[in-house]
């Protein structure tokens, strides 16, 4: 094994960059430089990652309640300016760090510097030397051949009768973290723009079956040019039940989009939003209005007109009918029956068919449905999407392409030549050591 190899965890560790490759820019003490160095530092980066992690933890434990609905409001904590300043700082850190590193990345892509000293090679953690019978020129050629066969890019130079060889492989791997960082920067910026409220909106579009509405009537619509408004006709809202007739399988809103002369039909359902002119409509809620007649011992054929989960109480009975849903396919109204406070039955009745329970009778005659769609516009989604894919690509590249670099100096020696050889690999020291061992083995 190459001499000078130390076990991991021994304290001093090699980094992926050589001294002098990092921290470009003059090292004077001006404020701008100090700020730049601070913003590009890895220390700030790791600190921010950990501070954000801790802040996020607090946000999941301390959840403010919405004052109106009493529901937990997860967004409130994270919309807090301090949290957003931390995010912005991380974005800035990533950007400055990336700009700062560009020169080092460019150098890496161009290839390792051939002009290194024998002392430099000796100082590498994986390094060794071997005596060879052939003269230096031939030995250097042989070495270059071996390196090329192993997939290295090879650079060389002759200085008198000394030959210097440098080689690397997996150099494109350095683009991986670079791509990851810039993508993450882009994602943070897109998310922050969205939360600033300067673009897009989060709204609610609701309407009855059979009616046509302009999207201008959407509650909360913003940042949309009225010239771009279009109409939506709600043709039908339907609930699809599973064969047991109770469990909901899917909710559909069948709509027609009417934009001037252009019209088309679309069925919106959960997981299948309508997207038109950058506005998305998601199935979010619904309701029904039920009308018909009911009778009890003390009053006959009274009219009712109630919504879902409202009460129909035939006079002279203790019974309450509570409509729970409606199935378009079978024209069945689903309802519950309570006696006093006791839930006594759950059943369904086809429209216009009288339904008797004890001394009461109910006839559902008509059902009118409305649908509630959440309407959104967020031009940032595409950017976040592309950023995410590039982020993943970057992460994968940085783990698959693991850079290895090798330097060698071949000098004449009595009866042949001396090969000094060593290398660096932050992520694949084992692979590098294998390569070096094999090369030395060939020479022995």
């Amino acid at each position: 094994m190459a001499e000078g190899k130390k076990p991991a965890g021994s304290g001093i560790e090699e980094q992926n960059v050589l001294p002098g490759e990092t921290g470009t820019g003059p090292s004077d003490d001006s404020i701008i430089n100090k700020a730049w160095n601070f913003l590009s530092s890895m220390k700030l980066g790791i600190t921010l990652l950990l501070v954000l992690a801790v802040a996020s933890i607090i946000g999941t434990i301390w959840v403010p309640k919405d004052p109106f609905t009493g529901q937990p409001d997860y967004l409130k904590f994270y919309n807090n300016p301090i949290f957003n300043i931390l995010l912005a700082l991380l974005a800035l850190n990533l950007l400055v760090c990336s700009l700062n590193r560009w020169k080092a990345v460019k150098n890496t892509l161009q290839g390792p510097n051939v002009d290194v000293s024998e002392n430099f090679i000796k100082s590498l953690k994986s390094s060794s030397s071997v005596k060879v019978k052939n003269e230096p020129g031939q030995t250097a050629e042989e070495l270059k051949g071996l390196l090329k066969k192993k997939g290295y890019r090879v650079f060389s130079r002759q200085e008198g009768d000394t030959f210097k060889v440098a080689a690397d492989r997996g150099h494109l791997g350095i683009l991986g973290p670079y791509l990851t960082h810039l993508s993450f920067f882009v994602i943070i910026v897109a998310v922050m723009i969205k939360f600033s409220g300067l673009v897009g909106f989060d709204g609610t579009f609701a309407g009855w079956e059979g009616q046509t509405y302009s999207i201008g009537q959407t509650q909360g619509i913003q940042n949309v040019d009225p010239a771009d408004f279009f109409d939506i006709r709600i043709n039908n809202f339907r609930t699809e039940y599973r064969p047991d007739g109770r469990e909901v399988k899917q909710w559909y809103s069948d709509v027609t989009v009417i934009d001037g002369l252009k019209t088309f039909d679309f069925s919106i359902y959960v997981n299948k939003p309508l997207v038109y002119k950058g506005i998305k409509f998601y199935q979010s809620s619904y309701g029904h209005q039920f009308s018909g007649k009911y009778s009890g011992p003390s009053a006959k054929d009274r009219q009712f007109n109630v919504g879902m989960q409202e009460y129909i109480q035939p006079a002279g009975t203790e019974l309450t009918f509570v409509p729970m849903g409606y199935e378009d396919a079978t024209k069945e109204v689903k309802f519950r029956i309570y006696k006093g406070n006791q839930w006594v039955a759950e059943d369904e009745a086809v429209l216009n068919t009288p339904y008797k329970y004890e001394n009461a009778e109910v006839k559902f005659e008509n059902v009118l449905s409305y649908t509630v769609l959440s309407a959104k516009k967020d031009p940032g989604v595409l950017i976040v999407g592309i950023g995410s894919i590039l982020l993943i690509a970057g992460v994968i590249v940085s783990f698959i392409l693991r850079q290895r670099r090798i330097w060698s100096v071949v000098t004449p020696e009595k009866g042949g030549s001396l090969v000094q050889i060593g290398g660096i690999s932050a992520k694949d020291k084992h692979g590098l050591d294998n390569d070096l061992d094999q090369i030395i083995g060939e020479f022995k």
Partner: protein, 283 residues
């Protein structure tokens, strides 16, 4: 025999197989006997097969990928752990790691057997929001990712044990048989290098699913947030490793902390916090 009974048998078989494997691997720490250790590998492989059979049967019974309730998640998780472990054993030929990884899988099954109410185990229909292929990608990558983190966790524990034995200049047979610090550190890193890209895919496929279902790719729901936190911790691990040279001891501790976050995302969030993912709940 009907599918449901068969499914129950496959759970029991997996439980027994992982238990036998864990026990033998632990005994193997003290008594070096290669034939015995081969039995542990065999038990792990059998358990992995019956664990796979469980998932396939569940898929057949419910008609959708078995990634919906806590019971299904946990059996996917143990599948990921056993699969990753078998891969690592084949790749590095180090059976001793089994003593530190397979008990994690077995303990999860033991927890199910002891604590999980019967009604939480039955196959159920998919509610509309869950009917998405992105959900399948989301959970499928999660189980491999978490399996890889579990493996790194196991080798990190081994690292700390080995290190303390080295410090005490232990001459025990056990110390001699433990892989070197260098090897343990390297394996610990390699599996994080597998788990981290997968965890990135887990988070992003989850965000895409949420965007299709609710028009909100990120809603700071606790489960979502905790998976992000886990991701940030592993990102900090990678940065500390490559820019500060935090290897060995510190890296091992970070890997252990990272896995604690994985477990909290899995169990803790459902127990201690509530959120949208409650329908993916465990209890």
């Amino acid at each position: 025999m009907d599918l449901v009974t068969l499914e129950q048998y496959s759970f029991t078989a997996t439980f027994v197989a992982y238990m036998v494997a864990s026990a033998i691997y632990i005994i193997y720490l003290a008594y070096k006997n290669e034939n015995m250790a081969r039995v542990a590998t065999l038990a792990t492989a059998v358990g992995f097969l019956t664990n796979s059979a469980f998932l396939v049967l569940r898929w057949k019974i419910s008609g959708h990928p078995p990634f919906v309730n806590g019971y299904e998640f946990l059996l996917s998780f143990t599948w990921g752990i056993a699969g990753t472990y078998l891969f690592a054993e084949w790749r590095y030929n180090l059976r001793i790691i089994g003593a530190f990884v397979m008990p994690v899988a077995w303990l999860i099954l033991a927890w199910i057997a002891l604590k999980m109410p019967e009604q939480a185990k039955t196959a159920s229909n998919l509610m509309p929001a869950l009917q998405s292929n992105w959900l399948t990608i989301h959970v499928a990558t999660a189980m491999v990712s978490y399996g890889a983190f579990a493996l790194s966790f196991g080798t990190s524990i081994m690292y700390l044990i080995k290190q303390s034995m080295e410090r005490n200049r232990s001459r025990s047979e056990f110390n001699k048989r433990m892989p070197s610090l260098d090897v343990l550190d390297n394996i610990g890193y390699k599996f994080i290098a597998v788990g981290f890209p997968l965890l990135s895919i887990v988070i992003i496929s989850g965000a895409i699913w949420a965007e299709f279902a609710w028009g909100r790719y990120w809603s700071w729901d606790p489960k979502e947030t905790w998976s992000l936190i886990t991701w940030l911790v592993y990102a900090a691990y990678l940065h500390a490793r490559f820019t500060y040279g935090w290897r060995g001891n510190k890296a091992a501790w970070m890997s252990i902390i990272g896995f604690a976050f994985v477990l909290f995302t899995f169990f803790g969030v459902n127990y201690f916090l509530s959120g949208l993912h409650a329908y993916g709940g465990i209890g």
